[in-house]
């Protein structure tokens, strides 16, 4: 049962989103939340399939945010696109800010790292060369991908 739940979006998150859109006194049955959970999960699979087909036809290996937006529009969810583009724009801005702040922090500690040749230093250089991530990489590597070309900061003159 737990394994099955891993394949679905968490019911707590789904229920919260539902509750926020309904009137304050509205109630939601557990079965309705479960159905919504399944529908939202199927939505992801459905849209991803369409986006993935497009990438395949264009000989690209990575499904990116723009592919998802295109698939949404193609499948009739074009009214979502505007809100998503705004959301994505804000996210990219936030990430740029974080990358800036983070590079300031790493610049001060980099002189110590360089002497030791720490694993984190090596992994940073590896991840900055690719934009793609696979399932095993953790969230911080996504941030490092944005710092492409800035690894020169860690090299002494």
């Amino acid at each position: 049962m737990v394994e099955e739940q891993d394949k679905l979006l968490p019911i707590a998150n789904v229920g919260k989103i539902m509750k926020q859109i309904l009137p304050p006194r509205a109630k939601i049955s557990k079965e309705a939340k479960q159905t919504m959970q399944e529908c939202a999960t199927e939505f992801i699979s459905f849209v991803t399939g369409e986006a993935s087909d497009k990438c395949h036809k264009e000989n690209r290996k990575t499904v990116n945010g723009d592919d998802i937006c295109w698939a949404l529009s193609t499948l009739g969810f074009d009214n979502y696109t505007e809100a998503i583009v705004r959301y994505l724009h804000k996210y990219r801005e936030d990430e740029r800010e974080r990358a800036k702040n983070q590079s300031k922090v790493t610049a001060t500690s980099s002189n110590e790292d360089k002497a030791k040749e720490s694993p984190s230093h090596k992994s940073r250089e590896q991840t900055t060369s690719v934009q793609q991530i696979d399932e095993t990489s953790s969230a911080p590597s996504e941030l490092r991908a944005l710092k492409k070309g800035k690894s020169s900061l860690t090299n002494p003159p």
Partner: protein, 116 residues
């Protein structure tokens, strides 16, 4: 009314991000990967896009389901209301099998489900 705050803060710590993603990115990525053998590489932004898209999807389907609830003069949103909303909306056709498999008592007024 629930307030964004502690809970969304916890979520963002778990996903390694600040800001309010209402759905866990790792889970979204897992579902994307399972959607097909072709899906091997996923950019960092794709789950972010989906976290917003799913939120909008859930909101839309919930609103439409609630319309069915009100038609039935009830205050509790039931599984059948979700099924009726799916049937009544063209873009939700991909969900028809899912809602009919759950063994719903489909509202006859909303229309018939034709198995594909």
């Amino acid at each position: 009314m629930r307030q964004a705050g502690t809970y969304s803060g916890l979520l963002s710590k778990m996903s390694g991000r600040t800001g309010t993603h209402s759905l866990p990115l790792a889970r979204i990525k897992k579902i994307m990967k399972k959607s097909g053998d072709d899906v091997k590489m996923i950019s960092g932004e794709a789950p972010i896009v989906f976290s917003k898209a799913c939120e909008l999807f859930i909101e839309e389907l919930t609103k439409r389901s609630w319309t069915m609830t009100m038609q039935g003069k009830r205050r509790t949103l039931l599984k059948d209301d979700v099924a009726s909303a799916v049937i009544a909306t063209d873009i939700f056709d991909f969900l028809l099998t899912l809602v009919s498999e759950s063994g719903n008592n489909i509202n006859a007024d909303a229309g018939q489900v034709n198995p594909r």
